[in-house]
Symmetry: C2
Subunit: 698 residues, 2 copies
């Protein structure tokens, strides 16, 4: 599932390891490659290859119909009344949060028959990209000559915070400056933001995620991975003037289709040194960490039905990440892939070396990156294992402790994440009324602390500060059972009470956060000074060198900002044969019966009862060559006319190394077909009012 | 498709390159590995792993119910009245031969509603293995001390011919001596033979081979690859006292099942030198040859509907072989596989080297084999390209020329294939009334001659003898248009007229055969003297060494004789997920619709018209871990009670390297389910009388 779980991991890596990804797009995109920014769509290629003229109107229509799910996914407006379609697995976190021991909507699904039944989400923020403005010169002008690397980094961050704040003040819109082409360009993105978002419809997870973890990232597939939310403004359904009209026919083999969404991160032009560090150190560490966490969750889940309910979303997320990262890791172990990347880099270096006017200013970038990578690896275990982040309560505690300190500083001097322009979204998350599961957090934290001891040793400063000679299990129990932070009012009181309130708090989670805050800051500063600042500078050099050598004919690496991908619905070679361009409801029943309906291949009761009502030949899922990655989950699939043809939910197993390299022959994105959605809503769920809204009927 | 096409290629290799395969089974069979002879079933393992007691009665029941299709497949008796079930693709050759431009049973299928409509096959011979007798000592006693390698080979062949002849005379049964364990054992097999075999039922090829070449060797699969014949004796249905009762339930996931059939050839313990020769020389040559032949056939097929009809069976056969051999070839290119084989060989050699009593008599075998392989490669192109075998008419001509010469010699001195015990079956084939397609033969022969020129050069003796300075196309045209051999009576007259008639013949194919006969004999003799005799001797050494080191705990390599495999119905990891233990009719419609019913995914009209009659959840195909290979096509799948649970028709794509190594984790045989067959016969074909016969109902 192409959810932001993968993004999250990458964001952990990104946040912890380096601010500036030294990575951007290959010089020439092959086949249907590319995650294009809306200011630079592949117009020429679309015209030549598909006879499609991409207009400004079309682009604006698609952009304003596209919705970002801020916790790591994508979606789209599909009615003028704020109806947003995304994946079930993007909705899963919210479904988990609105469920109770008595009402488990993850299992049963949910359908609001009228607007009164639509159910408010505790902490879901949706963003619409309403404007884009290039601010490269502004950012660069902040870097005076003669600054050290770390001074330059600081100056740049301060300037970015200033641009964001000014934009926010002037427009009231969420304002993010993003670095593209590894710092080759900076753009100010302004978003219309919705924080009153309500759940309208979700099918049973059993059909949304039919086939479970085994079938995840596999194709042929038979999942109804969709859900509907509605954005509200002033307690009324939002008016979404731009939305995607429903294509009742949907896409068929050979059709040109587009995917508009927010791919989380790619690393297609990382230097070889960085890829090797990922292969040899970072990815094995992440896999080790996740596998252990999964073990704890499974054990907890086995304790009973309610425990299973609590752990379900996290188990899904970790299994999903493990499968995705394992695929990426295997990509890096593949000699063919590595040889291809090596060849690209050698060619680029040769072209730079040939021209003294490039070699002189940019030629040392590779060496600088290699040096920074080497430094980073010295503290890699600290970065992963000096943390309580496995506990949401303790994460919030650290955020609160840092929040009250940071907001007192001038905006430009604050830690990332605490700039003025970011505070509203941050507070929305901080004060979320979503439920906690203390017993589960205790189990996770106990094991995480135990792993910290094993990885860092008992003499490590973090280990000593946290455990103070006690057993991990005891410390975890004391922290989770003692804290009152589960109550949003307590969190709000601390934040509003400022440094004094936080300093005076006896809450054990706050006490602990105060203890580890200096260590976290020290690590962060060390990374900025020794790694991030070097990589940012070197990344910009490579970015400029690449523009000089290849021109701006390519797309930047993914950054969880809006991108347009294109491709056709088409087969690919697999398993000794070829994949069908689409699947049907027939296949759903085939696979269920083929496994005698044993989990994860059982069918929800409705699907057995109403089987004879369904036209089984209706397309259910389909594939295209569109270039996507985690974060694209929930992206609309759009036809030439700008209509909704389906919703993306996955990539095939062959696409996992797409983090590093795209293959037209093998990579396929996997989507739910618009016909399949309508058939299910009509025949299985009797959701005629929703169908009418989607089809624009009264 | 696990048909004997693969066997045929191997038999070409085997016949041309070496009599004694230097190959037999690994010391310890892993998982459900093994193609066991009926004298040495894996009784202990079946008892321990599956709690199944294999009795002499059970074995006899299964053996006498098993049918060998002499042109390269397997089958079984499924009623007491001689009804034989096999694969459609095993029946394909006969279907082609009984079809006419007006009635194409390959396309339309065939169903005899009563015995009067059953249609006699022109040249199908079925064999039932009625007795097995070890004759190792007898064969070995014929080799006096002091004989040279080639004298020893001659003596052995003479002794084998003598044993066969004596058995035939004494019992009237077809009598074959086979070498097992690379000459470690010799066995006399006696077969009851049926040559009056009539076609009873075949579905449309479109459903038997649904998915065509792309889906061939793939799984999940949705093929009704079955056909029914009836054996006759004295113009009446044969009484088959031993037959498999129908299991209406069939096999389900986890069930123990057996496959009884005739695997063509495996090479699991070839020496490394031989595997390298296959990889570097033999397989690339075969692939080159087949691809070119396929090109000619496709071009011919494109000329029109009738041409397409004529070429269909051969195109299927070559595509099938190409896919299988490509899989085998890729297996040999796989470093993991090669390392495994290398390790096995090193271990075996070490154990032999440790014991002087083994090292002295057997230790030089590897060196001898290496030397023979090297010799063989010197003439490998001659072996493949000094031939007219692409033309059936010219093949028959050469057989006739050799026949009349050979039968005049003492039995023990004849070429292989012309011994007394073999003559009846040979004459049955020689005088077959099956139709010829002269235009197709001309096209094939012209291109084959052109390829001979390219591969051997214009100065080669064969090329000069055949072309005599003329163009390949002209020679082919002259040969095919001039010969009268398409008439069986002409062939019979020549054979019965003996050497005088053949010498006097002006038939251009006979004239050509007389010209190339000396060259063919010379090549054959050279191979016997330089390769086959050495490999036979060295193979026996390795065979004995292996018995000494490992004991007789293993099975011999496949030799197109009756074997028993066992395993369970179970999934395997594939495509990032797992395969369903069985498929259903639902999946057939899913795959057809998923490709919009474009070829090769269209459905026969009956399947659209009668769809609503079918219980779509009925199992159609299923898989097991049984160890099989080409030649096993049509083998019955048998449950613990000795009942018919399905018919084997394929292996999965992962099983293709099974020629060299079996993997319990990955290798799966693919079968049609007994429930699927009944459902189709009942609901689609209205073949109630057949269903009643299968179920033993009146």
């Amino acid at each position: 599932m192409q959810k932001g779980i993968i993004v999250s991991i990458s964001l952990i890596l990104a946040a912890a390891l380096a601010g500036g990804f030294v990575a951007f797009a290959p010089s020439t995109a092959a086949g249907d490659e590319g995650m294009w920014t809306f200011d630079n769509p592949p117009a020429k290629r679309l015209q030549e290859k598909y006879g499609f003229t991409i207009t400004a109107e079309w682009l604006e229509h698609v952009r304003l119909s596209s919705v970002r799910f801020n916790d790591g996914g994508s979606g789209s407006f599909v009615s003028p009344n704020g109806l947003v379609l995304t994946n079930h697995h993007v909705a899963l976190g919210q479904l988990q949060k609105v469920s109770t021991p008595e009402k488990n909507y993850v299992n049963t699904g949910f359908y609001a028959r009228n607007s009164g039944e639509e159910m408010k989400c505790p902490d879901l923020e949706l963003n619409i990209l309403v404007s884009m403005e290039e601010v490269t010169r502004k950012v660069e002008s902040s870097i005076r000559k003669g600054l050290s690397d770390s001074e330059a980094l600081k100056a740049r961050k301060a300037e970015i915070a200033k641009i964001e704040k000014e934009s926010l003040d002037a427009t009231g819109l969420r304002s993010d400056v993003v670095s593209l082409y590894a710092g080759g360009e900076y753009w100010l993105h302004r978003y219309k933001k919705y924080t009153d978002v309500r759940l309208v419809f979700a099918p049973e997870q059993q059909i949304a995620f039919f086939g479970g973890d085994p079938d995840n990232f596999a194709y042929p597939r038979y999942d109804l991975d969709m859900a509907l939310f509605r954005a509200y403004e002033n307690d009324k359904p939002a008016q979404s003037r731009q939305f995607l009209k429903w294509s009742a026919k949907g896409a068929d083999a050979g059709d040109l289709v587009f995917v508009s969404g927010n791919p989380g991160s790619t690393e297609r032009l990382r230097t070889m040194v960085e890829l090797e560090a990922q292969r040899d150190h970072l990815l094995p560490t992440v896999l080790r960490l996740l596998k252990r966490r999964l073990g704890v969750l499974r054990k907890y889940s086995d304790l009973g039905q309610e425990q299973a309910r609590q752990a379900a979303a996290q188990i899904f997320g970790i299994e999903n990440s493990l499968k995705a990262i394992t695929g990426e890791y295997n990509g890096l172990l593949d000699k063919g892939l590595v040889a291809k990347k090596q060849k690209e880099e050698s060619e680029f270096r040769r072209l730079v070396a040939e021209k003294p006017e490039l070699m002189k200013p940019y030629g040392d970038a590779w060496q600088e990156i290699a040096q920074a990578e080497k430094q980073q690896l010295e503290r890699v275990n600290e970065i992963y294992f000096r943390s309580l982040r496995v506990s949401r309560l303790n994460s919030l505690a650290l955020t609160i402790v840092q929040y009250v300190a940071e907001v007192r500083k001038p905006d430009g001097e604050r830690l990332d994440g605490f700039h003025d322009a970011e505070l509203e979204s941050l507070r929305f998350r901080l004060f979320s009324p979503a439920p906690f599961y203390p017993a589960m957090e205790t189990a996770l934290l106990a094991d995480s602390l135990q792993q910290s001891v094993e990885e860092l040793g008992p003499g490590d400063a973090f280990v000593k500060a946290v455990l103070g000679g006690h057993a991990p299990g005891d410390v975890a129990k004391q922290l989770i059972s003692g804290t009152k932070l589960a109550d949003p009012a307590v969190r709000r009181a601390l934040v509003e009470g400022g440094e004094a309130a936080v300093a005076a708090s006896n809450d054990p989670a706050i006490v602990m956060a105060r203890k580890i805050d200096p260590l976290a800051r020290e690590t962060r500063k060390w990374i900025e000074d020794n790694v991030e600042s070097v990589l940012t500078k070197a990344g910009e050099k490579l970015g400029k060198a690449r523009f000089a050598v290849y021109g701006k004919t390519a797309y930047p690496d993914a950054t969880f900002t809006l991108r347009l991908a294109y491709g056709t619905v088409k087969t690919y070679p697999m398993n000794g044969t070829q994949a069908p361009p689409h699947t049907t409801f027939y296949g759903l029943y085939d696979r269920a019966h083929g496994f005698n309906m044993k989990p994860p291949y059982q069918l929800p009761a409705r699907y057995l009862e109403r089987k004879d009502k369904i036209d089984l030949a209706t397309p259910l899922d389909f594939i295209s060559s569109c270039d996507i990655i985690g974060g694209n989950s929930g992206s609309p699939v759009i036809n030439r006319k700008g209509e909704f043809s389906g919703v993306l939910f996955d990539g095939n197993i062959q696409s996992l190394p797409a983090r590093f390299v795209y293959s037209d022959e093998q990579n396929r994105s996997v989507m739910v077909h618009s016909q399949g959605i309508l058939e299910a809503l009509t025949k299985i769920y009797n959701a005629q009012p929703l169908v009418n809204e989607l089809l624009g009927k009264k």
